[in-house]
Symmetry: C2
């Protein structure tokens, strides 16, 4: 198999776009930073937007896999995993190269509703949401599982905390946004009658 230039390009482009922004990063800068020739880039991707889409696909895979693998490493019960979500969030924030959520940032630069880049960003968030929802559905109350409606509502509320934490951490408004979100999450779980929280 090929550990090809293409993958190498996408990986490096991810770093540059993440740190420098999408519009602000020119293809010539990518040539300089990756050492890959422009001809070669355009053989793999027809346009810059196509490259960005590939970068976002990689990031989606990377982040979701890493995130929920860590969650599973930290806890096995549904309740434990749900709380671990916020611990992993904080882990992410503490990484030295943390610069916010790539998808929030990309959707800030490509806001048009029918832009494929914008839509890929929303798709990522929906996938993250569904992964959290899956955990919430397994939670135990004193009277068994949550109703589907309550589970969805609770997940939406927890998701608000998560996204807010990402933004406020990136904007340096809050130093420990992950932990604050976790505390708030505990309150929300208790308010919904979750056992043993």
């Amino acid at each position: 198999m090929r550990p090809s230039k293409r993958d190498e390009l996408v990986q490096e482009a991810l770093k540059v776009f993440y740190q420098n922004g999408f519009t602000a990063t020119g293809m010539d800068m990518l040539v300089k930073k990756t050492g890959i020739s422009k001809t070669s880039m355009y053989k793999h991707f027809r346009t810059k937007d196509d490259l960005i889409l590939a970068v976002l696909r990689l990031r989606d895979e990377q982040l979701r896999n890493w995130f929920f693998r860590r969650v599973e490493e930290l806890a096995s019960s549904p309740l434990g995993q749900l709380l671990a979500v916020f611990d992993v969030l904080e882990e992410w924030f503490q990484q030295p190269d943390f610069q916010g959520c790539m998808f929030i940032k990309a959707s800030s630069e490509f806001q048009c509703v029918d832009d494929p880049i914008y839509n890929q960003c929303t798709e990522h968030k929906k996938l993250m949401f569904n992964s959290v929802l899956k955990i919430v559905r397994e939670l135990e109350t004193d009277s068994g599982k949550l109703s589907p409606e309550i589970a969805e509502k609770l997940t939406r509320q927890l998701f608000l905390l998560k996204e807010g934490a990402i933004v406020l951490k990136h904007m340096r408004v809050s130093g420990s946004a992950g932990l604050e979100a976790k505390e708030a999450a505990v309150s929300l779980l208790q308010a919904n009658g979750i056992r043993n929280v």
Copy 2:
């Protein structure tokens, strides 16, 4: 006094930057959209970044004034105002030209910690935070006001909900993010022993 071209420029530039992004909007596009000559622009602002800073200053003033005036119109008690924060948030989301938070987006494009634009964005968030904090400090529990530490912690949690709602609304992940945030806020207030919520 002059209702001058300068103000006109900043107001129009705000709209264009908001809908189209900062880096993606060139000065020539601003000429086209505002009808103001480039010479004139550069007589008022030395650089594009200076113009952006002026735009953000205007936006900060506009948004904060509007937001908390609406909050005061909707309720007079501290508890009522705090809940009204999320109603006003939802009002904002329902405006047809809503395109997310200008400061979150600007800080996505200008991420460098020592960039004046980035710093003005964080400043706006801190001002918003302090305004909410001021309300929280007036809340009544069964045993009087909240301790300063609890008040700050609660405000941070509510702020997470607010920022999360902005992002998820902008990314069309949640259709009624303001109301969801409000429900979550109620739970957090109850969890902190606030009276009559």
